[in-house]
Symmetry: C4
Subunit: 125 residues, 4 copies
């Protein structure tokens, strides 16, 4: 039993800054969901995106292999539809096996970088 985490997570903050300074792609403004699957089986992830004034979009489906981490930029989610920049959103992340979810933003709209991060909210199973 190497797995750790929970199967249902939420991030209430989401915002893709509409512009950037600095070298791409590292310093491109981005909003990231980081997923750790420390267990011995592949994790099948579904992400649902919630907005302020329209119905949710998704599910966005992602696989995280056993004993791997994936740091996914919301900017890069395209199927079923891209997430617009400069728009408030939130997300629910569901997995068929326990994973750990952390939220990070790098904002380079101005000349210097700003960062935030928090462990997401884990629902009790």
């Amino acid at each position: 039993m190497n797995d750790i985490g929970a199967t249902r997570w939420a991030i209430a903050v989401g915002y893709i800054p509409p512009n950037s300074h600095g070298d791409a792609p590292q310093l491109t403004s981005h909003e990231t969901v980081c997923i750790l699957n420390a267990g011995d089986g592949e994790a099948h992830i579904s992400i649902t995106i919630y907005y302020a004034d329209r119905d949710p979009s998704g599910p966005y489906r992602i696989a995280v292999p056993a004993r791997r981490t994936r740091h996914i930029r919301f900017n890069n989610l395209k199927d079923p539809e891209p997430i617009p920049a400069d728009t408030d959103f939130a997300s629910v992340i569901e997995s068929d096996v326990p994973v750990v979810v952390q939220h990070t933003r790098l904002d380079s709209r101005q000349a210097e970088t700003a960062l935030l991060s928090t462990i997401a909210y884990a629902a009790a199973d």
Copy 2:
């Protein structure tokens, strides 16, 4: 059952920076409470603001429709009274249905942006 979260949350940090640099409103200094209501019924939210040296103010009442998120700037809470800038405060967020609450600040008092964020403290039901 799509809902996720808790019905009682707290944020112990609150501070509206008194000035800003950059384009308004995106880069105006702000303190934000982000609420996700992933459930199937509208959430009726009451926010109470606590200060260092006076009685609490509120409740500030906000509705978040089913399957929606709202990112609310404390700067914009006006009823029953605005929250003064450059003043320490804290907040308790109560909802009639489970929601997820996250706290974010963008500080642009100096020329460049600084950010912080954390999932709020969820009381056990």
Copy 3:
């Protein structure tokens, strides 16, 4: 029953930046513990500071009145002894009634401000 929180909290990160840019005291580099006492009785708080290579110091005693918040800069804790700048530390915060504890740093060592914040770790009662 207005109280919310826990009676024992920990913050594993502590560091008072040794210098600052910007207007004092708002933009002086600081490490802050923010405490919310939403309950109906005064909270009597004891903070113990842990270091890398010496015995802990404290307790630092602080009262937070009923229905008040206090944002305490570690820089300002003087009794029984000040916390040195430019030194790694950690803290345990204990209260006789439930409170909510959040950790924030403003770092203005360079010309621009950086911020971090997280809800502290709450021990199960």
Copy 4:
């Protein structure tokens, strides 16, 4: 019973910025795991590092004496192998006694400092 915390923790975000501005070592870009052992016995810590596209590395073994904190830069973990810069990773931190774990990054790739921090995810025992 002075101990506080849990024995199994995870941080889903890891990234050592490949360059820095400012005085070394304080303002060198770094990714840090901060561990507080408030208990009365030494903590024996094992850290496992997870990557996106290769098997995990570790365990990295660290001792934290009783009533001490250690702030460990991932940059400085060398045995069994260093963690490459500019590479996404995640970590699981296991201890034989309860500890508290917090994650912090200082990014000085651009001229000004950016900071993030969050309490790590604690597995239920």
